[in-house]
Symmetry: C2
Subunit: 384 residues, 2 copies
């Protein structure tokens, strides 16, 4: 029985993780839950899963949860809050495995603390690896703690990497759906609206990641994530646009063999893989290979999607440049969704923030968070 | 340094193996060569590679080789002949690895002897595994001897199987090019000529295997081979038609993940994989993934290709039925190439031979060879 700490339990990945726990009651149970501001859902989850500890965003929310649990006659569930609460969840003695699925850098400290505490981590939080990948992977290596990627691309890469040695890897090929504007003429990019950009062809996701898919900055973050997770150079990570999102990524070996992973587009599969690794429990998440007809691929267009180039540049520089890429994008995407800037102003804003960022390599999570705040401040100033 | 015994050294796979030895002189050398009737090529190979032992088909050919080596002032190369000679090559004390690439059941005894002698085998000979797979794999398991498949499909499967446990395998999916008649209207199958059938869309191969590709009996033999090599039931092996021959095969796991192997269509790659396993040496056999545009798949048509059904039936029965399938096909293909029977008479002949074959499970290679002779006799009688 693997007892889980689920950070971001009320989000999409958190809920999918709980559906896996539901399906495999002999394999998984819930030790702790870190939710955010969704009190109703956190209460429902606490009632259903009876964790030892639940963390909410604020002291007030934690108190309210406490009252509701008490009124419901449920005892033995401790409530905590804030970053300290999330860290308490991720390092709890009863947790055997941590699912890190809080969006943004908010989950960073708890994820780092989990690794320091020797807990295996299933990582659904891209920003953690982009902002603090060097720190997290070094800590994980020193303690021999596995970090298992919970996103379709890196999970696919993780699988394909089992077929050879690290030194035998030539390229990692991340597939990209290409987003909604893969075939839009370049001269129409200036007039793209938030409504258009929020329509993703294959995945239903949050607002920021959907816009990041449309600009392909999301793939850029994944390039950086791949470098950190799998200890490869940016030049070893390539992107192929694959509109069907059926092949989730590929690994090319030095002998010439390429391994690819194919599956349904359902996040429960990478979650199950991460939870069960190195085992593969039977699931109903079946891909119907007999019905497969066509798989299409094309090279990414760096002119349409300048965010890709910016990501490679940030990946080469590493450190604060990766932090700034992520932070500047978040601010720029907000401004785009608020109709303050145009679609193509997103990469321009990021480029300016990167140009204002001197090279540096944070050695601590505090330094990472400070660099993140700096980049956000610069981005806000630029957009003001 | 791995010292190779190459059975079938003057054939296509044998020559490709020697080109790998040429390219990786620090990794591989030649211990013994078993050739057939091509004296000139055997002489040239002996001069170039200086093996300890060379076997030819007959005593006369071996004597001629002896004389030519002597005249060339080359000493220290022993010459032998026939089945005993091939066995001497495959079991030679100086051989660390045996490449079994003699076409047909002729290589069977030497391959079995190599396994009994504890030598790892790279198996390019499909008929060995179809006719005597149960005996060979049992011997290999008992002695913990690896059998590494040297053909693009099973080599791909071998790679994809490294990503999970045996009990986690749901299906093995063999890809098939579909051959030259994939899209030919069924009513034109009766008039297919040998010339039409000998034009394979993606691979250049020997005459029998090219006809076997056109009837898809070749894929049928591979289904049986997969069952033996990977210890799975016939119902676990499926076929998907993939005209580009880019994906060489796939493995579907019980969790829903499917792993696929992609590479150039060049037999040197599976040879190198088998020789170097578990390592992957760098090679120039690069597949240009950036240039990949489309991969197409479709289900096989059992009406057009009755050989597929016959193979599944033989695989279910096992034993002499697999032997008869292979033997009857060889005779029927010869008759087709000699314009004695029509294209669609190939499966009809096989079906009749199978119907005349009582179920039995040979326990020795001698019994396998006797069953093979019986099936050939029945096939000849049917066609007379």
């Amino acid at each position: 029985m693997k007892r889980l700490a689920i950070l971001g339990s009320t989000g999409s990945i958190g809920q999918s993780t709980l559906s896996i726990v539901e399906q495999y009651p002999d394999r998984y149970s819930v030790a702790t839950l870190a939710a955010g501001r969704n009190l109703d859902e956190a209460f429902a989850q606490a009632v259903r899963w009876r964790p030892r500890l639940v963390s909410l965003a604020t002291a007030d929310l934690a108190d309210q949860l406490d009252v509701r649990l008490h009124q419901a006659g449920i005892n033995g569930i401790e409530t905590v809050h804030g970053t300290a609460g999330t860290v308490a969840c991720s390092t709890h003695a009863d947790a055997d495995f941590v699912v890190s699925a809080i969006v943004g850098v908010a989950g960073l400290e708890a994820t780092h603390a989990a690794i320091l505490a020797g807990k295996p981590v299933g990582l659904a939080n891209k920003e953690c690896m982009v902002a603090a990948g060097e720190i997290l992977t070094q800590a994980a290596r020193e303690r021999n703690v596995p970090i298992l990627p919970i996103d379709s691309e890196h999970n696919a890469v993780h699988q394909c990497l089992r077929v050879g040695a690290h030194a035998e890897v030539k390229h990692i090929w991340l597939t990209a759906s290409g987003g909604p504007f893969r075939q839009l003429p370049l001269d129409q990019f200036a007039s793209i609206t938030p409504e258009q950009a929020l329509k993703h062809p294959t995945w239903v996701m949050g607002r920021r990641i959907t816009i990041d898919s449309a600009t392909m900055l999301n793939k850029g973050l994944e390039i950086i994530e791949a470098c950190r997770l799998f200890d490869v150079a940016p030049s070893q990570v390539r992107v192929t646009v694959h509109p069907q999102s059926t092949v989730h990524s590929l690994v090319e070996y030095v002998d010439g063999s390429i391994l690819a992973q194919i599956s349904v587009t359902d996040m429960r599969l990478p979650i199950l893989y991460a939870l069960a690794f190195p085992e593969r429990p039977a699931s109903t998440l079946t891909f119907d290979l007999a019905a497969l007809r066509h798989l299409d691929f094309e090279p990414p267009d760096f002119e349409r999607f300048p965010c890709l180039r910016l990501a490679y540049e940030a990946a080469e520089k590493g450190g604060v440049h990766c932090i700034a890429l992520n932070a500047a994008d978040e601010i720029a995407v907000e401004a785009f969704l608020d109709r303050k800037i145009s679609f193509m102003a997103i990469p321009r804003t990021i480029e300016k923030v990167l140009a204002s960022t001197p090279e540096a390599h944070p050695a601590t999570i505090a330094e990472v968070l400070a660099a993140d705040r700096d980049a956000r401040r610069i981005a806000h100033e630029l957009l003001a």
